[in-house]
Amino acid sequence: MELGEVKIIKLLYGGIYLIFSALIILRGTLDIVGIDLSQALYFVSSDIGYGIVVLSIGVISISYINSEDIIKQASGLFVSTVLSLGLLGLRILVILSHYLDYLLTQSVEGEGLFDLTSELSYVEIYTSIITIVLLYYAYRILRRYTI
């Protein structure tokens, strides 16, 4: 893979994260001020904190985008994909914990609440497969150019 291609992939990948982070933060802010756009923006979460995390991953993706150093470009992509996958893994772990907690509450108190769509946003599912592919690419580049 050449430098130019890496740059384009980084811009696209980072761009997706930046757009989604803007939507997540927007939905969170609208929720706080009392404007309900949950139906229109159902595919993103409304957690501002999570939005900032997604924004950070987006920024790391497009890091050193003007640099001609392919190692720096690949490092940015590698770090952002590792963070992204780590985040997804932990979100799944949290959902599992919340689901088990729901089963426990239900068995003890006879009631409980668990809504998968509010726990895991579609953004995470959409981006996870492409993230794995890009992580592999970034790793290959780094392995080729470093020891």
């Binding site: 991953i57 890091s63 949290v94 914990s97 907690d101 150019y145």
Partner: protein
């Protein structure tokens, strides 16, 4: 120090290349070895793999520095391993260095195992030479051989062993490579009488060293210490050694030689002798390395360096730190929800049912359930959070990221008196203050560690959130989110303000220079991470558990007894009965204090029970304000929006829960705990009072 060893040391070095003798001169049995090394050389991995993680953890006497001692069997020996604090030198500049020095020179240590970082050996070799000079028996471990290999560093290990006259074991500790040889060398070394107190030669200053040694020969010092080491330390102007020699009444005898050496150093090298000794040591180290290292030309960057382009770049650091800390938070708190609730259910439902089915008086059962079990449960409910937190921190530590975070943030946080590593406890404080205080252990600078522990309870822990939600929901329903955000930010601002004030007014004086070795990135070893975490978890349960159970019993007794005697266990559920209890009387004692803030005795009692855990504030208020049905209406009558806001500000800033105080006490002692209670109480009271006064002035 082993006197026998010093007096009867053999003159022939057995470590010429691979030749090792094993003349068994000491009686087989118990051995004590110390594990030394500069930070991030894989010391904890070696410790855990040798001892299988079976370790006793405590503090070094009179300090808050963690002491770890483990044990393992080897041949016919039972070997105790003392894990020394990571240190770069044996000078008395920091508590860590002083501990390492004292253990090596004062305790009866049979062998010191020193870890060397093969990918960057210079500084570790400096420490090894310093340790050899004390007269200790040493085995060197050349760790990270795989990384050295990758970056093109090849060692002539036999030659290094030959020059230093000690066994050197090449290892990749994290991959379990080299342990068999290490164990063999440990046995051979302790069974052999050879020691090398002169690993390097100090050129023309050898003459001064010899003269000092000659003068000290007649004194009792020679029975306890290597005189050569004492002489070098005197030339290095080591204040502990000077003090010791002065106490022995022989300093005056050697002072003239030191001054003479200093004069010569100034004339010849334009440097004082104490500055020149380390320079010579480094020159000798470089000369040794020239002989034993063969660098293979490597044109490429290492994988770790490539990652550091991003991970240690100031421009992008914050964008990596945010997701990492968010993930640590998710892992420690959100992922632990099920396990915490499971423990809660086991204690509050299953065990409670079992207890109440026992054939005893209900009052006794209530005491066991509410008095003892509730206390034990309140500790164990934290356990999943703490266990996952320690696992998370260990992973970040072993990956190598924690060192980078500290390096990046030190520049900013040092301006307010904190260390780069303070960020971890501060962020964790948002989940729970107990692990936040425990996590301060990663901070080497004592003052920064203490300040971080004292200010981290200002971070709004998750237990305070139900109180905020209750009050913000009732009194500020339209601006609930904003009110809660203000509370969180207030906690952070107050914490930063206090850390600045503490550094400027209370804990003045120089802080430790921030030195950190950035280790290569590694995939963490699961066993090591789990073992390291297990040792810390065990310690938490033991330390925090005892005081919480006691406190819980006291609160129960105060709630079921009053001036008229025993009220019955139902007083915990009946407001009229509870009003007759000692805890209510206590609340009424504090009522005049809380009256100016617009609260009554019930609000004061809720704050008192909040000592157990902040969530208890809500349940106490619910009981005292007439049960669930009329609770909210009664709260609206009892509080105005201003006094309600002042109340949640108080909840944010007043003393942390008993668990946090217990950990503060066990980590830093009674004084720190009491000081923290007092200053936080005062802060909470003053801040709440300011809220009330400002509101009055503004006519709200």
């Amino acid at each position: 120090m082993n006197i026998h060893r010093l007096i009867h040391g053999s003159k022939d070095c057995p470590y010429s290349a691979s030749k090792v003798t094993s003349d068994s001169l000491i009686i087989r049995g118990k051995l004590k070895i110390a594990l030394a090394g500069i930070p991030n050389t894989g010391k904890s991995v070696v410790f855990n793999k040798l001892t299988g993680g079976r370790a006793w953890v405590g503090n070094w006497p009179g300090t808050t520095v963690e002491k770890k001692v483990g044990r393992f069997r080897l041949d016919s020996y039972v070997i105790s391993v003392i894990d020394l604090p990571g240190t770069y030198t044996l000078s008395p500049d920091s508590i860590d260095q002083k501990i390492a020095k004292d253990v090596i020179t004062e305790e009866d240590i049979d062998l010191v195992v020193v870890l060397l970082n093969a990918s960057n050996i210079e500084r570790s070799l400096y420490l090894l030479i310093s340790i050899l000079e004390t007269g200790a028996k040493v085995v060197g471990i050349l760790n990270f051989m795989d990384i050295a290999d990758k970056i093109g560093i090849k060692y002539d290990i036999d030659k290094l062993s030959d020059i230093l006259k000690i066994p050197i074991v090449p290892m990749v500790a994290v991959k379990n490579k080299g342990f068999d040889i290490l164990k063999k060398r440990i046995v051979e070394s302790v069974e052999n009488e050879w020691i090398n107190t002169k690993p390097i030669n100090y050129n023309e200053f050898e003459e001064y060293i010899d003269r000092i040694v000659e003068r000290l020969k007649e004194s009792d010092i020679s029975k306890r210490y290597s005189l050569r080491w004492i002489a070098i330390k005197l030339l290095e102007n080591d204040r502990d050694v000077i003090e010791f020699i002065s106490r022995q009444g022989v300093y005056d005898e050697v002072r003239s030689i030191i001054l003479e050496a200093d004069k010569y150093a100034l004339e010849r090298y334009s440097k004082h002798i104490d500055a020149l000794i380390p320079i010579i040591r480094y020159q000798k180290i470089n000369a040794i390395l020239d002989q034993v290292i063969h660098k293979v030309a490597v044109a490429k960057k290492s994988f770790s360096d490539a990652l550091d382009d991003i991970l240690t770049c100031y421009r992008y650091a914050i964008f990596i730190l945010i997701p990492v800390l968010y993930m640590l938070y998710l892992f420690s708190f959100e992922a632990a929800v099920f396990l915490s609730d499971l423990i809660d259910v086991i204690f509050s439902v299953f065990l409670s049912d079992i207890i109440y089915s026992l054939p005893f008086q209900v009052d006794i059962l209530s005491f066991i359930n509410e008095g003892i079990l509730a206390g034990v449960g309140s500790v164990l409910v934290f356990l999943p959070n703490i266990a996952l937190l320690f696992i998370g921190i260990s992973v970040l530590e072993d990956v190598g990221y924690l060192s980078r975070v500290a390096y990046l943030l030190d520049r900013i946080l040092s301006k307010v008196g904190l260390s780069g590593k303070s960020i971890i406890p501060m962020i964790l404080g948002f989940g729970c203050n107990v692990p936040a205080v425990m996590a301060t252990r990663v901070i080497e600078d004592d003052k920064a560690r203490l300040i971080t522990a004292m200010i981290s309870p200002f971070m709004s822990c998750s237990a305070r959130l139900p109180v905020y939600i209750l009050f913000a929901g009732i009194f500020f329903p339209m601006h609930m989110g904003l009110v809660i955000l203000i509370l969180y930010l207030t906690g952070v601002v107050v914490a930063i303000l206090y850390s600045y004030l503490f550094r400027r007014l209370v804990f003045r004086g120089p802080s430790l220079p921030f030195v950190i070795e950035l280790p290569p990135y590694l995939i963490p070893d699961v066993k090591n991470v789990l073992l390291k975490s297990w040792v810390r978890i065990k310690e938490f349960v033991y330390r925090a558990g005892t005081i919480i159970v006691l406190a819980s019993i006291v609160i129960w007794l105060l709630s079921v007894f009053g001036p008229i005697g025993y009220l019955g266990y139902t007083s915990l559920e009946e407001p009229q009965l509870l009003e007759e209890s000692w805890i209510a009387y206590l609340g009424k004692v504090f009522e005049p204090l809380v009256k100016p803030l617009g609260w009554d005795w019930r609000a004061a009692v809720a704050l008192l029970t909040g000592f157990i855990a902040k969530e208890v504030v809500v349940s106490t208020l619910a009981v005292l304000y007439g049960g669930e049905a009329v609770f909210k209406a009664n709260l609206l009558n009892a509080f105005s929006p201003v006094s309600a806001f002042a109340y949640i500000i108080f909840v944010l800033l007043y003393v942390p829960c008993i668990a946090t105080m217990a950990v503060l006490r066990s980590e830093f002692g009674n004084k720190t705990m009491i000081f923290t209670i007092i200053y936080m109480m005062l802060t909470a009271y003053i801040a709440s009072y300011i809220v009330v006064v400002l509101a009055t002035l503004l006519g709200v």
